[in-house]
């Protein structure tokens, strides 16, 4: 395993008496393919927001490559190498796909590169890798849902993050689009650690090397997909969730 990229230490987020995330210890290592699973309401998205800086923890700390970023907002964490996607793709609707990627790369670039809009080649290559080259001049608002997801992935990768946080990237996708997404995820380099919240079981099985199960805001277990699948506690949680549904 590589060095820790993201560390949550006793991290919690409470809303009054409700602890959405409670005393979580979680480490994402360099180059990891780490999935966060759990029943609805387990606190997965909250945890991702805590990692990205969209939410401040009410307890514990957040470390990025060993540096305490607990008090940093999302923009500052992004400049320290965190890229993310949202459950509903967050894009600049009025701008075309190329501009979306260029804007995302902007904070990581020199003033000259931004201002002169030179060298679109890496941005175009980024779009091409996700099959979006033909849509480079299409406004993001005009794309289909599946292509918006792919574009958001290109955007999240544009500034070459060392940690990529994906919030249910397969949600609302057709089977074909999930296939495209999986191919796209496969192109992400080993220098990027990925933390993924996902319900889509095949995607998790095909992509993740490490799985953490979250239940009622707390970590149940962390292991390989096979270990986690064999864990009786995990089965109980999912059966309980199914039984309740």
């Amino acid at each position: 395993m590589g060095k820790p990229v993201l560390e949550l230490r006793g991290t919690g987020r409470a809303y009054g008496a409700l602890k959405a995330v409670d005393d979580v210890d979680l480490t994402v290592h360099a180059g990891a393919r780490h999935a966060l699973i759990g029943p609805n309401g387990a606190g997965k998205s909250t945890l991702l927001h805590l990692a990205a800086g969209n939410l401040r923890p009410t307890a514990g700390r957040v470390l990025l490559a060993g540096r305490d970023v607990t008090r940093h907002g999302p923009a500052r964490r992004a400049r320290l190498g965190v890229g993310r996607t949202f459950q509903t793709p967050a894009l600049i609707g009025s701008a075309d796909c190329l501009t979306n990627v260029a804007l995302a790369a902007w904070p990581a670039q020199t003033f000259r590169a931004r201002w002169l809009r030179r060298d679109h080649a890496p941005h175009l290559a980024r779009l091409d890798a996700l099959g979006l080259a033909d849509d480079a001049a299409t406004p993001a608002a005009a794309l289909s849902h599946g292509r918006r997801r792919l574009l958001e992935l290109a955007v999240a990768l544009a500034a070459s993050p060392r940690l990529l946080l994906l919030d249910e990237p397969a949600a609302g996708l057709t089977d074909d689009d999930v296939g495209l997404l999986l191919t796209a995820l496969g192109t992400i380099g080993a220098e990027v650690a990925v933390l993924l919240v996902e319900h889509h079981q095949e995607l998790v099985r095909a992509f993740a090397g490490t799985v953490t199960v979250l239940h009622q805001g707390a970590v149940v277990t962390t292991g390989t997909p096979a270990e986690v699948a064999a864990d009786p506690r995990v089965r109980e949680i999912y059966q309980g969730a199914l039984g309740a549904a």
Partner: protein, 322 residues
């Protein structure tokens, strides 16, 4: 995709014709028409400033009247010091920019209706201050006799109507040209990005509040320049020039014009002032009602405003996704 850009050949032709018509107007029009148009030049910059904040940056504002007032009184004082029009214009823009930078920190933290209310409060407080700080502003009487000055150092004093007209129109067009160039640059893309999706901009590492603060400062400078042109054209300034009625009139003009479009805002000002000055005098006392009806009609009949109509006619690209 970029609404402030006149990108189609037809749109460029329309812009060229409009600018040429404005510059050639003194050869055909009477003095009354020229005075009216030159007074609208300042309002046009105020509308451009409001459109920049409301439509391009996505912060709806009733308060650009405040930097407009700061600019107008600054220009009047500089005119009393016998400084030329260009210095008044730049001085007014600078003072209004400083004012906006100082008040902007609060404004850029707000969105939507809250932003409208905060900017309304800033506008009202500025108008009240203009009415009460007698030593600086002349109080409710304002500054009634602003001396005539040349446009440039060593030039002739701007007294004759065609001269005043040419100065104000050329100055307004210059400020607008700079504004539209900036909005075409990557800075414009950045501002529209903050409007379209703040969460994305922050997630990509952009300092959204700082971008909006600089935008607010720039918009303040434009409004301040508008205030200077008001003083150059009418040679007086009083609190009634910078009150709520003017702010509401300009916001109406911007909505009619299509909030995200600077040319649309200018067309909106022309339409609103034309209605106010031609039809309203025939219906004494009913001017606010008339403008209200115009506003409702614009919202229902012109989605996207005049610029939306222009987009449908192929004059410019309109705005995708809004």
């Amino acid at each position: 995709m970029i609404p402030t850009r006149l990108r189609t050949p037809l749109g460029i032709a329309a812009a060229v014709v409009a600018v040429a018509a404005l510059l050639l107007l003194p050869t055909v029009a009477d003095n009354y028409t020229l005075i009216t148009v030159s007074r609208v030049a300042g309002l046009g910059l105020l509308a451009a400033s409001t459109a920049l904040m409301t439509g391009v940056a996505g912060l709806p504002t009733l308060g650009q009247i405040a930097p407009y007032a700061v600019g107008a009184y600054t220009a009047a004082h500089l005119a009393h010091l016998a400084l030329p029009g260009l210095v008044q214009l730049l001085g007014a823009a600078a003072a209004a920019a400083v004012f906006s930078l100082a008040t902007g920190a609060a404004v850029v933290q707000t969105r939507g209706v809250i932003c409208l209310m905060v900017t309304l409060a800033i506008g009202e407080l500025t108008a009240i201050t203009a009415g009460q700080w007698t030593s600086l502003t002349g109080g409710t009487d304002g500054m009634p006799r602003v001396p005539a000055t040349p446009a440039l150092p060593g030039g002739e004093n701007l007294v004759k109507v065609p001269d005043v007209y040419t100065y104000t129109v050329v100055a307004a067009l210059a400020v607008l040209a700079v504004t539209m160039l900036v909005l075409r640059s990557p800075a414009g893309t950045l501002i529209r990005g903050c409007r379209d999706n703040e969460a994305r901009m922050r997630a990509s590492g952009h300092r959204v509040s700082l971008t909006l603060l600089w935008t607010f400062t720039g918009a303040g400078a434009i409004a301040g320049a508008g205030g200077a042109l008001l003083v150059s054209s009418q040679r007086t300034v009083s609190p009634s020039n910078v009150g709520f009625e003017v702010a509401a009139l300009v916001l109406l003009a911007v909505v009619i014009g299509g909030a995200a479009s600077i040319p649309g805002a200018l067309a909106g000002v022309a339409a609103v002032v034309a209605v106010r000055d031609t039809i309203a005098p025939k219906l004494p006392g009913e001017a606010p009602l008339l403008l209200g009806v115009l506003f409702i009609a614009a919202v229902y009949l012109l989605p996207g405003g005049l610029s939306g109509v222009a987009a449908r006619l192929g004059l410019h690209n309109g705005e995708a996704g809004a």
